[in-house]
């Protein structure tokens, strides 16, 4: 929901980032306020995942210009784990499999790191199990997934649900979900969407990176942004997603403003 008086959570201005010597983000601006749901759309390779990883602090990407503020603080100076603790959550497009590390223990350590930050008491194994069993219901996941290694051998859909489970446990202030909808069948998509809607409230915000209108039928965004060539080239309301679904992205190529300036 859009409220003019709401607190600004995330403010990105003129962001440039590169990997090795290749520029990827080229002057991106975005402002997200509490209570809002934003969708970021765009073709493959337009830089959506890069944006999400730069916000989360992935070491492979170097920011060479611009700034990212989270609740007024310079996010780019913080280690990735600090960003997570203060309430940034990235749902990975490709969640990583970590053989040998128990999912349950991983979730507990992560949850406690976040709880410590927000002044809640640390949960011991028993209390944590109660919490996790409750949150499992949000994503309708079987408790047997807790006994396994993190994401190891999970199907695509199960990995995505595990991401949402983490989000439900960490209660982030801003959640960036990178193509959480891809690879999901319609039932799984509904479950994930329901989870996201359930967790959204007026104090937090969600950034949905997606290719498809399909997710946006379940979660209504306040803003839809279109990324191309490393920046946001168009912003509109939820109707923009429907328009994109119909007419595709060809218009980007014909717009002079989006041609690369060499």
């Amino acid at each position: 929901m859009i409220r003019p008086e709401a607190q600004t959570l995330l403010e990105i201005s003129d962001l440039h980032a590169h990997v090795e010597d290749q520029p990827i983000l080229k002057g991106l601006n975005l402002k997200v306020k509490a209570g809002e749901i934003h969708a970021v759309m765009g073709r493959n390779g337009s830089g959506k995942s890069t944006l999400s990883k730069v916000i989360a602090g992935h070491p492979a990407y170097t920011v060479c210009k611009g700034q990212v503020l989270f609740q007024g603080e310079n996010l780019l100076e913080m280690e990735p784990e600090i960003r997570a603790r203060i309430g940034i959550f990235l749902g990975f497009q490709y969640p990583i499999e970590i053989p040998g590390v128990s999912n349950l223990e991983f979730l507990r350590v992560a949850t406690n790191a976040r709880r410590e930050q927000i002044g809640k008491e640390e949960l011991d194994t028993f209390d944590f199990e109660d919490l996790v069993n409750e949150r499992l219901k949000v994503v309708q996941m079987d408790p047997s997934f807790l006994e396994r290694s993190v994401n190891e051998g999970f199907s695509g859909g199960e990995k995505k649900r595990n991401e949402i489970l983490q989000m439900a446990l960490l209660e982030p202030t801003i959640a960036i979900l990178d193509e959480t909808d891809s690879g999901l069948d319609i039932d799984a998509l509904r479950i994930v969407a329901k989870g996201v809607n359930q967790l959204a409230n007026e104090d937090n915000a969600t950034l949905l990176i997606t290719h498809y209108q399909r997710l946006l039928n379940e979660i209504t965004p306040d803003y839809v942004h279109v990324m191309a060539g490393g920046k946001i080239v168009r912003t509109g309301g939820s109707e923009l997603a429907i328009e994109l679904e119909r007419s595709g992205y060809e218009w980007i190529d014909s717009d002079k403003n989006n041609q690369e300036v060499k």
Binding site: I96, G100, A113, L170
Partner: protein
């Protein structure tokens, strides 16, 4: 041969006790052989400076002081197992009443087992073993009979700045079962030489944990020799950590094939440590199996070595052996050498081997970081997963030694 080495051998205490004859022979052999050099394949990568310097330490003449067990260890002591502390110059069996199923082997029985093993092993030269012959003055011999024998725990502590040798021989009778945990504990600047000889009769089962917990500047030279008769199952989990120079030789012989050997090994090195595992599994008959997984993780400037020899002669048809060496470089300055050595002559066999050396994955670390976990915590979590695959194979009573916590110390410094 170096002057110091010769002097060191000459300064060993007068041969005495049941092993006197063996000591005399051993001393003459190690004197003739000299200190292993780079020319000998199995010692090629060894830090010879460290080896030479441990061969100058005075031999423990007194009993090794009883280490004070930690409260955690004491708390866990009320299980039904037997604990023996081995030390040079003392027979621990004099102090204890062995439970039903475990009894002391007589001198003649020990001789007979040694003779049997010798006839089967026909080994050329095992310097570590000969070093033990030259220096050990006690042997603990145990016979195991029954399927409900209490678990056995053997502790080998050390005196600081001294050299000590311990020797054990265990016979597991036909159809009998045992869980055996050995813990070698170093002291500052100590050197330990440990020899364990095991014979498994037909259909016997042994679950063996061998843990070497070193401390700064301590060294361990261990040699394990196992003979297995048909249908026996030998399962070894070895862990070494914390030694300046650590070497664990594991020789397993299936004397007529048709037995099962399972080896799990883990060594984690840091600082300037050098840890080595040299295994040799040979099948002297058909239809034997081996399942081996060795892991080495090296931090700082440390060095891990794994040499895994498997011998499958003509008579060992239908052998099924698999060896995997999975290694982790935790620092860019660390070094890991891993080498399979397969000598396969029989044609109808299944033998596989593989080795990987990897680093902690940046993507795995970042994934954990993105959930609020620090790089140190992340490394510890990843390392824990890495270790547990091996540690879970240890006998149940290994839990009280808090090994995982010790292993993870390499991260939290």
């Amino acid at each position: 041969m170096s002057f110091e080495y010769k002097n060191w051998i000459n300064a060993l205490p007068e041969p005495n006790g049941v092993l006197a004859k063996i000591q005399i022979e051993g001393r003459s052999l190690i004197q003739n052989l000299g200190i292993p050099s780079r020319e000998i394949e199995n010692w090629r990568l060894t830090d010879l400076k460290k080896l030479e310097s441990l061969l100058t330490l005075p031999i423990s003449k007194e009993q090794v002081q009883q280490r004070t067990p930690s409260s955690a260890e004491l708390a866990d002591q009320n299980d039904a197992g037997v604990r023996l502390t081995l030390s040079p110059n003392r027979n621990p069996l004099q102090l204890i009443t062995l439970p039903y199923g475990i009894r002391e082997l007589s001198k003649d029985e020990i001789k007979e087992i040694m003779k049997f093993k010798m006839s089967k092993i026909k080994s050329k030269v095992d310097w570590t073993k000969l070093l033990n012959h030259a220096t050990a003055n006690q042997i603990v011999g145990l016979n195991i009979k029954g399927t409900n024998v209490p678990s056995l725990e053997l502790i080998m502590p050390a005196n600081a700045s001294e050299f000590s040798s311990t020797r054990i021989i265990i016979n597991v009778e036909k159809g009998s079962k045992l869980e055996l945990l050995e813990v070698v504990i170093g002291a500052k600047k100590s050197a330990q030489n440990h020899l364990i000889e095991i014979n498994l009769e037909e259909s016997a089962e042994l679950k063996h944990g061998l843990i070497g917990l070193g401390v700064s500047e301590a060294s361990l030279l261990a040699h394990l020799s196992v003979t297995q008769k048909p249908n026996s199952t030998y399962s070894l989990s070895s862990v070494q950590h914390g030694w300046s120079l650590g070497r664990c030789e594991q020789h397993i012989k299936q004397v007529e094939g048709q037995a099962q050997s399972i080896i799990r090994g883990l060594q984690i090195s840091k600082g300037n440590e050098q840890l080595a595992t040299h295994s040799l599994v040979s099948f002297d008959g058909p239809e034997g199996s081996l399942d081996q997984l060795q892991k080495s993780a090296a931090a700082d400037q440390s060095h891990c070595i794994f040499n895994g020899a498997i011998k499958v002669p003509q008579k060992a048809q239908k052998t099924n052996a698999a060896q995997l060496s999975r290694n982790l470089l935790i620092s860019e300055n660390a070094r890991i050498d891993t080498k399979p050595e397969l000598e396969i002559i029989a044609d109808d066999v299944r033998c596989t081997h593989g080795a990987t050396v990897s680093q902690l994955q940046e993507d795995e670390i970042f994934y954990l970081q993105s959930r609020g976990i620090t790089t140190d915590q992340a490394t510890a979590l990843l390392l824990k997963g890495y270790c547990q695959e091996i540690l879970k194979g240890l006998p149940a009573n290994a839990g009280r030694w808090g090994i995982l916590k010790k292993l993870l110390e390499i991260v939290k410094r």
